[in-house]
Symmetry: C2
DNA sequence: AACTATAATGAAATCGATTACAACAGGGGG
DNA sequence: CCCCCTGTTGTAATCGATTTCATTATAGTT
């Protein structure tokens, strides 16, 4: 079903049908005939041809390091919600943590496959930075804060700072921080800095704060906590970079026969759905992932629409909320 | 950068460059010159124009009822893995449980936006069934078994049947089944039937099996379990349609002061990552979601490639594995 | 040498929509 | 009555790749 067939069925030119669809001057009479013909045929304009002519893709690309993650899937959820409103499709690109793929996707998506990009958990290697600098379509980075690029990110530093303060206020002095690699600017470096700053500000020396690095899994949280309890049996508090790590750490504490929160306080970050069903319910710093996705998408559409007035590059700092439960 | 510019730079015709890219007879000499020109310019053929001419989209559509779900995200992970190998992009469509959207996406994606569809958690309303019957592109349904369509699905019935048997073998007689709505053929109807069959086959009457319906959340599992314990204080076993429900149920049992597994046995379905970190670790029927996604994608590509020889419509039944932990 | 099959090549048509342009009609102002 | 402006309309060019077709060159066969 092409525009010409619809046109001849309605007894008008193809241009008239196009005007009907895209808004152009047209008599009410023809308008009616075209409406009829379209309803009758169920005609939908070919998006490839339309794209070919106008150059406007109604898709955006979302690049993620993995999909099976509470945080990532919530952000993606927010992005899809806004895109649906706008009639845009979402192209989901899973790099599986592979930097080369990240770079490849960035360059490939520009080639008429996406009107803009949302990138999460970007690993800012020189190659990726280069790809972004040369990027022909607008993009927004989520979850991490790079001065040079538009991004939507969390207040990772203060979230952990606040959590740590709470644990210290409970009288804990021998505290462990289970973090993730500094390669991850936000969940790694920023959160760790928050933990250290809080400790130091409260008179706990940086050296006496126990720091262990984990991957993003509960299993690695379990292993790290086991190690901490082995090497520092007097540990009485633990703050985890993510709730998933906290789940593992909590199991290790249980295995060691220690009580939470009597013997050891524990806290996480993220407000995962299972936090309130843990035993005891986990104190956490809630992050607004869904909002993050929505904000990033809205920002991207502003850039795509050019509503930006070439205005200042935007950096959106999201808030966090301490959810105090019984684990500290 | 168009094919003509590259061509003139290499001193050949546009057709020659196209032949270079798509395979056609071409002298080694021109081949070399074109290789040069492409490297120099970084030319990438315009996918819109290519699509326009050939009609071959290198995208597939994935329609999901929600994204924030362990099962869904793992399946999607499997799909993206196969698509990446094949150089296809994945268009992720989140219907958020809205049936109209499901139908709309199915019809919209056919319009040159996808070479095929993978649909999960389809709600087979007449409208959706109609949309599928008229679908111009191949599609595969995951997680549910419809005779009339190609699908990849789990052995939901036997998974729960086996779990239930284990609980009964532990000597439990007053058992509750926390399920989900029958609207969901697989997780709802099939699993419930498995629970009932097992009970009946073991001499427990259908009437004495306690059945409560939940949504897919831990909170609803908590509420349902609370209700069960209130109305049937002698309950000594509970099987849940999903691990998430089990997490909620387990918390309700704890709240009620009952011990697991001494007083009550509990089991779930899905093998969520947090199962082994629960207290006690949760016995579950592991489902192979990643494999499900991969199989569905492979099946779809067979259909797209036409390797099917118009062969029989395929129905893939996945296996399950009982993971026995300490909760029963 | 004559002939045929095969490879190499470019010009031009094509996919289906949008849009610049030209043509024309009708209305209002002088 | 003429001019100009605005609104309606269709024709044809266009986007950038692929592919058909016709042509020429080359090799292989009698």
């Amino acid at each position: 079903m092409t525009i010409r067939e619809v046109a001849s069925l309605a007894g008008v030119s193809a241009a008239a049908v196009s005007r009907y669809l895209n808004g152009g001057s047209l008599s009410e009479e023809k308008r009616e005939r075209i409406r009829e013909a379209i309803k009758e045929t169920g005609y939908q304009p070919d998006s490839a041809a339309r794209l070919m002519r106008t150059g406007k893709v109604h898709q955006i690309g979302v690049i993620v390091p993995k999909i099976c993650s509470d945080a990532v899937s919530r952000i993606v959820d927010g992005v899809t919600a806004i895109c649906r409103e706008r009639g845009f499709l979402v192209v989901l690109c899973n790099t599986d943590g592979n930097r080369d793929l990240e770079k490849n996707y960035i360059s490939f998506l520009q080639n008429r496959n996406a009107a803009g990009l949302i990138i999460m958990g970007v690993s800012m290697t020189p190659a990726v930075e280069d790809a972004l600098k040369n990027c022909q379509v607008p993009f927004v980075i989520t979850g991490q804060n790079y001065e040079a690029f538009p991004c939507v990110f969390n207040d990772d530093f203060h979230a952990v700072y606040a959590l740590m303060n709470m644990v210290i206020k409970r009288g804990r002095r021998k505290i462990a921080y289970l973090g993730v690699s500094d390669e991850d600017l936000a969940a790694g470096s920023e959160r760790r800095r928050g933990a250290v700053s809080s400790a130091v500000d409260s008179g706990i020396s940086e050296e006496s704060l126990i720091i262990e690095n984990c991957s993003f899994s509960a299993a690695s949280g379990y292993a790290a906590m086991e190690k901490v309890l082995m090497e520092h049996p007097d540990t009485d508090g633990v703050v985890c970079a993510t709730d998933t790590i906290a789940v593992g750490a909590r199991a290790a504490i249980r295995k060691a026969g220690r009580k939470v929160p009597e013997d050891i306080s524990i806290a996480g970050v993220g407000d995962s759905w299972m936090d309130e069903f843990m035993d005891p319910p986990l104190t956490t710093a809630q992050l607004f992932h869904l909002q993050c996705g929505k904000d990033a998408a809205k920002m991207l559409f502003h850039m795509i629409d050019g509503d930006d007035d070439d205005g200042p590059m935007r950096q959106t700092l999201l808030t966090y909320r301490i959810v105090e439960r019984d684990s500290i």
